[in-house]
Symmetry: C2
Subunit: 243 residues, 2 copies
DNA sequence: AGCGACAATGTTGTGAACAATCCAGCCCCC
DNA sequence: GGGGGCTGGATTGTTCACAACATTGTCGCT
């Protein structure tokens, strides 16, 4: 019907084409627009996104499958709070899958692929020199995604995308560790070199080393967070949308 | 209590469908009750399962996320045909995840866990002696699931369950290779021994060797299938529900 | 005052009706 | 005879209203 409800797009975004409400909800969750454990009432989301409750319901089903929210039978949906333990599990799985893809990438990379990777690494150098941590993180993600694309394993790639969206909240802290970005960049260079040399074993070990350090850094970040707010694990926000 | 739903179970099935229609549909798909590429008409499924179309629609959304079916915008859902190439991708991912879990299992196994594993292996011996291939396959799956449970990584385990349901159609051929079951059993014994010895590295390599052979066998099975029916890749069944 | 039953409220789950869309067959015109 | 447009049936997408369920606040009883 007359979907352009006058108040629906009041939150700043202009003439967005009718994107999937599922994507919009996912974006809102991973960007932290909803607090962990916050209730997601279907009717509220319906008016907020300007779509029917059915679409919201379908989107919630997808997000539930992806592990971003939990749905209890007659009690609605809440954004899922990823525990530190689960973050470790996710990182371990990511570790295993990225190693697999790194091996495949090493065997399948074309010359153009290697050129792209080197370009990204060069850009990471620049970001690091300018102390642009956010830009560095983005390029980091770009580099990994580019490797995924080279490996050309769609099943694993899709899983990694899903995992990433789940653990995004923990990823932010890992860049804050002193000296970590420099070390990270060297590890990435090593990975790219192994891909350029078409050496799967070296690429595997390089990626393993890199992600092992990421795992350590993740643990450091979690411990730092717990040290700062030791009560956070006990707090049950329940920041219900009631205004 | 006896809620007034007089017309809902009119199709004579005395057993109330207490199970989730999503699970029933999944079961029907992985068990081969629906042909690949067969259209899944919502209304038909609705009467077949005795639930409303809304529930069917939700179930299809989940199954779509799991990759068991594909849904095109206004053209309905069909059971997804897994290509040989995708079966390889799935097997590679399974390989990576099972190795991860094998390592974890080696470090975390309690004595009771090891006893269970040895019991399963002994039962596999029996099935093999009796030429009970089906029973052997089931115990094979049981053994792997038991290892998953020991490793206690719920994220990876859930992924493996999903992958298994996707590639089940290809798993059947792998047992037919001559001499394969005997070799498989030895590999499993090696894995269990490594878990009992709490040796993650040995467990990793044993699982890698095992799954490498599984991958080879899968390739052999696919080639045999293609040799037998070289047209199967071209055939577009389209076994539409139109009676 | 403490506690259990009970109604009030809000939210999800479900089924039916309606609109939008696609597909196949058919007809008309060239 | 062949191709383009059209119409009818079938199927999906969406909305709506209502029932089922959980939570919460209230009232009466001990």
């Amino acid at each position: 019907m007359n979907n352009p409800a006058p108040s629906s797009d009041s939150d700043g975004c202009g003439i967005r084409p009718v994107t999937d409400p599922c994507d919009r909800l996912r974006e809102a969750i991973v960007s932290g627009e909803f607090q962990p454990n916050e209730r997601l009432v279907e009717a509220d989301l319906s008016v907020r996104l300007g779509v029917g409750r059915t679409a919201i319901r379908a989107a919630l089903a997808v997000l539930d499958q992806e592990g971003l929210i939990v749905r209890e039978p007659h009690r609605g949906a809440r954004v899922r709070l990823i525990s530190a333990r689960e973050a470790f599990e996710i990182e371990q799985v990511r570790n295993a899958l990225e190693r697999l893809l790194a091996r495949s990438a090493a065997t399948q990379a074309a010359s153009g692929d290697v050129a792209d990777l080197r370009e990204i690494v060069a850009a990471m150098h620049d970001r690091l020199r300018e102390d642009d941590s956010l830009g560095y993180m983005q390029l980091n993600a770009t580099l990994h995604r580019r490797i995924w694309k080279i490996s050309d394993n769609q099943v694993a790639t899709k899983m990694l995308v899903t995992l990433k969206s789940q653990s995004i909240r923990f990823q932010y802290g890992t860049i804050l560790r002193p000296g970590r970005p420099e070390q990270s960049l060297q590890e990435h260079e090593k990975i790219v070199a192994a891909i350029a040399a078409h050496d799967p074993a070296a690429c595997d070990s390089a990626m393993a080393e890199h992600l092992g350090h990421v795992l350590e850094t993740l643990q450091w970040a979690i411990e730092a967070q717990e040290r700062e707010r030791p009560w956070s694990a006990l707090r049950e926000p329940a920041v219900g949308g009631r205004t």
